[in-house]
């Protein structure tokens, strides 16, 4: 992202999703974990859909995953992004899936199944969004 590009839009915060974005702002990738049955869940929600518990823990994730699907987005264009946007669905090693972006990879090198690792990109409002690059490509 060049210095002239404004930061990506801030996430839309709700009472139920704030824990994900609050952690991301601190450079942490987390998911909700049911305090009763231990199931991980994403997107966040107030109740465990497996055991109906309202008790939850915040689970720190490894930040590693596999590319499940992707798209190179050309249109429409928003001033906060460079095009094409490398949009990704990432299957995290802990068994949950997240929407994100790919970085540090040429579009023609993107392969479904490639191994990825998380890093963080700033958003408007001082937050951060988890994004992914090829595993081992970070400095």
């Amino acid at each position: 992202v060049s210095a002239q590009t404004p930061a990506r839009p801030a996430p839309i915060l709700t009472e139920d999703n704030a824990l994900f974005w609050d952690a991301a702002a601190q450079g942490r990738l987390v998911a909700q974990k049911c305090a009763r049955c231990g199931a991980l869940r994403h997107p966040p929600r107030p109740m465990c859909p497996h055991c109906r518990s309202l008790e939850l823990e915040v689970c720190e994730l490894s930040g590693r995953g596999t590319l499940y699907s992707y798209a190179l987005l050309h249109h429409p264009q928003h001033p906060a992004f460079e095009y094409p946007v490398l949009a990704a669905l990432v299957d995290l090693d802990e068994g949950i899936r997240v929407v994100s972006n790919l970085t540090d990879v040429a579009p023609d090198q993107i392969r479904i199944g490639m191994r990825l690792e998380v890093h963080f990109a700033p958003t408007a409002g001082g937050g951060a969004a988890p994004v992914f690059r090829p595993l081992g490509s970070g400095s």
């Binding site: 990506r8 839309i12 997107p43 699907s69 798209a71 429409p76």
Partner: protein, 391 residues
């Protein structure tokens, strides 16, 4: 899934109406709805005073009280809205048939009024939810907005890319479907694509919206306009102006982890498993056979989801839609003439309700691209659908 005899052929479509489809209607959605509804009532031979039920989409901007005082309905006994955006569009028939079968209402009007071209375009980059509707894709938006994934095309591109990867589908395979839709539209005076057929090369040359799955010509036409449908009991419909079109089956199937317009967290995005469940309810649940379907109207916001629904609904095997289409099965001479008005891609995007009006015309025998002797129509918006039959 148990059969639903109370709904099977309890209700019928007695009237259809629409405005012109354009790129700038120049008038409010409320006015567009008034025009299509009065046209549909006139088509049926009914008066506003006959109407006691109203059904639309949660995302529709026209409000029931404003509509009632504009059209002059006297007493509305039943009103309901369907969620899930366009995926829920055919749910208006399920709501209407349920109201009629239960006795909650006798004459139900379903409408959709939209200024998807001159007003709020689905294809524009939005980073905040609609101020007027909580049902505008917010579940996807809260996870997609920080990543520049800002439109339905980009939300659905993940499914489409995975589908291509899983089954070796190429952009040209989507293009062959679009060429067929545009061929139908070229003969439809109401269509955006009237007299504008395309070639596969035109499709391939159109610019990328979302690579590697969605070219510009894979996208539906954002359109201004309104469609209305009048539904009543099959008995009452028999005495009205038009030959009745029976609602043989109506069903919905919204699955765990599906969102409005997206389902990024379902295990296998190469299959539209909501449509698998929908087909089980429509065919097995109501006792119809796929081979009885003479014409199919399938929600084609983007061409890849047409192929994926053909597979999920069981008209061909998983991964086989590309050959099914290349063999010409979607044409009037094929085994499953499909989207004979041109679809949402060729005719215009009235958010799926123009699939119902075309199915009705086919079963009345008045379509511009008429399937000779059509008796049974399947209408699918992926997670809601119906089987319509000629009475």
């Amino acid at each position: 899934v148990s059969p639903r005899p109370a709904l099977r052929e309890a209700a019928a479509i007695a009237g259809i109406g629409q405005t012109e489809f354009s790129r700038n209607a120049g008038r409010s959605e409320l006015r567009l709805a008034c025009e299509s509804i009065t046209a549909a009532l006139a088509d049926a031979g009914l008066e506003p005073a006959d109407v006691d039920g109203l059904v639309s989409y949660t995302i529709d901007p026209v409000e029931e009280t404003e509509l009632t005082r504009a059209v002059g309905f006297e007493e509305i006994a039943f009103s309901a809205r369907v969620p899930y955006g366009g995926g829920g569009s055919i749910g208006v028939l399920l709501h209407a048939a349920s109201a009629i079968a239960s006795g909650a209402a006798e004459v139900v009007v379903a409408w959709r009024a939209i200024r998807a071209r001159s007003g709020s375009r689905f294809g524009a980059a939005r980073t905040a939810p609609s101020a007027t509707s909580a049902h505008s894709g917010t579940t996807a938006m809260q996870w997609c907005t920080p990543y520049g994934v800002l439109t339905p095309a980009s939300w659905m591109a993940f499914n489409c890319t995975r589908y291509m990867h899983q089954y070796g589908v190429k952009s040209e395979d989507f293009g062959r479907a679009v060429v067929q839709l545009r061929e139908y539209a070229a003969h439809n005076p109401n269509a955006w694509g009237y007299r504008k057929p395309i070639t596969l090369q035109d499709h391939q040359d159109s610019r990328w919206i979302a690579e590697p799955c969605i070219h510009l010509l894979d996208c539906c036409q954002e359109t201004d306009g309104s469609v209305a449908v009048v539904i009543t009991s099959r008995e009452r419909a028999r005495d009205l102006r038009q030959p009745p079109v029976s609602i043989g089956a109506a069903a919905g199937a919204a699955l765990f982890e599906q969102e409005i317009a997206t389902d990024h967290y379902r295990p296998d995005l190469s299959v539209m498993d909501g449509s698998v469940a929908l087909a089980r309810r429509l065919f097995d649940g109501f006792g119809y056979r796929r081979e009885d379907v003479d014409v199919a109207l399938i929600y084609d916001a983007f061409s890849p989801i047409l192929l994926m629904q053909l597979e999920a609904l069981g008209f061909c095997g998983l991964g086989e839609a590309k050959e099914f289409i290349a063999d010409g099965n979607l044409a009037l001479t094929g085994s499953l003439p499909c989207n004979t008005h041109g679809g949402l891609i060729g005719e215009g995007y009235i958010h799926g309700l123009n699939l119902v009006s075309e199915a009705t015309r086919q079963l009345r025998g008045t379509a511009v691209n008429q399937v000779p002797g059509a008796q049974v129509a399947l209408v699918s918006a992926s997670r809601t659908g119906a089987i319509l039959t000629r009475v």
